[in-house]
């Protein structure tokens, strides 16, 4: 079965983010989206640690330990960028000023519940960071994740079994197999990897899907 690569997934997300958007990218897979913003668009990337206008990774030797992103990786600042303190940074999220956030996930439920911070395992050290604030704050919450777990189970589930990050907060899921909207009327498939039939995607996903044509 063909799957989208991580960069193909990131490019697919980037294609859907319009010119002029303010966007927060979660650590890990979502960070790749920054590399795929079409050059004719101005998209302003917010980093939770007090940066608007985050730019590309600096050249080797040009890193500044006081200019980093949420993943603590060195970044640069674009012309027009700004620094601010943490309460302002999270006012941008909680206050509904961010157009999009892109987050990773362990599970997304059919009602838009998100689980992405804690497996709940007894020996796991819980770490939430800004995920709960982003989940309830951004105007649209986009999720990037693999469609299936390593053992082949769908990560889109009837109800999350891992501890929740936010309730009913997810708008759209980008996986390595499909792009799926979470709507009050259920899950709607917007796009699908070449060669994968709707029936096969339905079989792999388990929860009821609808093709976009019927909406």
């Amino acid at each position: 079965m063909k799957r989208w690569t991580r960069d193909e997934m990131a490019a697919r997300v980037a294609r859907d983010i319009p010119d002029g958007s303010y966007v927060n990218l979660g650590i890990g897979l979502p960070t790749l989206v920054a590399n795929h913003i079409p050059p004719d668009r101005e998209v302003i990337i917010q980093s939770e640690n007090g940066v608007l206008g985050a730019g590309p990774t600096p050249a080797k030797g040009q890193e500044d330990p006081e200019l980093i992103n949420a993943g603590k990786q060195p970044i640069t600042l674009l012309k027009g960028g700004a620094f601010f303190h943490h309460a302002d940074s999270f006012a941008m999220m909680r206050g509904g000023h961010l157009d999009y956030c892109v987050l990773g996930a362990f599970q997304v439920a059919v009602n838009g519940d998100l689980a992405n911070w804690h497996t709940g395992a007894p020996d796991a050290i819980p770490a939430v960071g800004g995920a709960m604030d982003l989940a309830i704050g951004a105007k649209r919450v986009l999720i990037m994740m693999e469609h299936l777990t390593k053992s082949g189970e769908s990560k889109i589930v009837p109800a999350c079994t891992y501890p929740l990050t936010g309730m009913g907060c997810v708008n759209r899921v980008y996986t390595d197999l499909a792009v799926i909207d979470i709507t009050p009327q259920g899950l709607v498939v917007r796009d699908c990897v070449d060669g994968l039939s709707f029936d096969e995607l339905q079989r792999l996903t388990g929860v009821p899907l609808r093709p976009a044509e019927r909406t």
Binding site: I68, K72, F83, F90, A131, I136, M167
Partner: protein, 226 residues
């Protein structure tokens, strides 16, 4: 005459008592007041409650304080990192208490303390483990969770420049929690790269006004890229 400049980091932290709640600025290593934390380790105060975004990196700064067994409890949003092995070991051995706080709640609870707010309702965390047992309220059709302020006895903050009145500027993303923590402690102690003459900081550029600052120590640069 007001002069908040203190001669050394040792002198600045000398009166921190056992059992104090200490806020430490920084996001990972950016903005971590390493000289003040080192002085606190040497000073010997123990049984501390620490407020920081993370739970230490490597074996410097906050990680060194924990390694010296001075920390009873930590409030943070993101303890688990690639190089948080000092905390990980203490936590798994049951030797440190952890309160995980969503990052925006951490910042706003600190801000509330500094602003004299008795708490606030936020949608963050509603319906999750981190809101269990907390008061909730529906406001205009949306569910909110009540969060209380976090006050501190001491805040240790890294800034870039200060004058003798304690006016501060910060550098790049090292600002992070510094300005809110400076407002929320009974005693805010700041380490800076540079102390400048009164008036040398453009009033339009002051980020933390001196009223929030009690002590300033010049420790120089981070020994890193300018």
């Amino acid at each position: 005459m007001i002069n908040k400049i203190v001669a050394s980091a040792e002198a600045a932290v000398a009166d921190i008592k056992d059992g104090s709640t200490v806020m430490i600025s920084g996001f990972g290593g950016a903005g971590m007041p390493v000289a003040l934390v080192d002085a606190l380790i040497a000073q010997g105060a123990r049984d501390l409650v620490i407020v920081n975004n993370n739970a230490g990196n490597g074996e410097t700064g906050l990680a060194a304080l924990m390694k010296a067994r001075r920390v009873r409890k930590i409030l943070c949003s993101f303890p688990r990192q690639a190089d948080s092995y000092v905390f990980d070991g203490l936590y798994r051995a049951g030797e440190i208490e952890l309160e995980v706080v969503p990052q925006g709640n951490l910042a706003e609870r600190i801000r509330a303390a500094g602003a004299g707010i008795g708490g606030f309702f936020t949608p963050t965390g509603y319906g999750t483990l981190l809101a269990e047992g907390k008061e909730t309220r529906e406001i205009d059709g949306r569910q909110y969770v009540f969060e209380s302020p976090i006050h501190a006895d001491v805040a240790l903050v890294r800034a870039d420049r200060a004058d003798r009145w304690g006016n501060l500027t910060y550098r790049k993303a090292a600002r992070n929690f510094g300005p809110v923590m400076a407002t929320a402690a009974k005693c805010t102690i700041v380490e800076v790269r540079e102390v400048v003459e009164l008036g040398a900081i453009d009033p339009e550029h002051v980020v933390t006004p001196g009223i929030f600052v009690q002590r300033v120590v010049k420790v120089g640069g981070m020994g890193r890229t300018a």
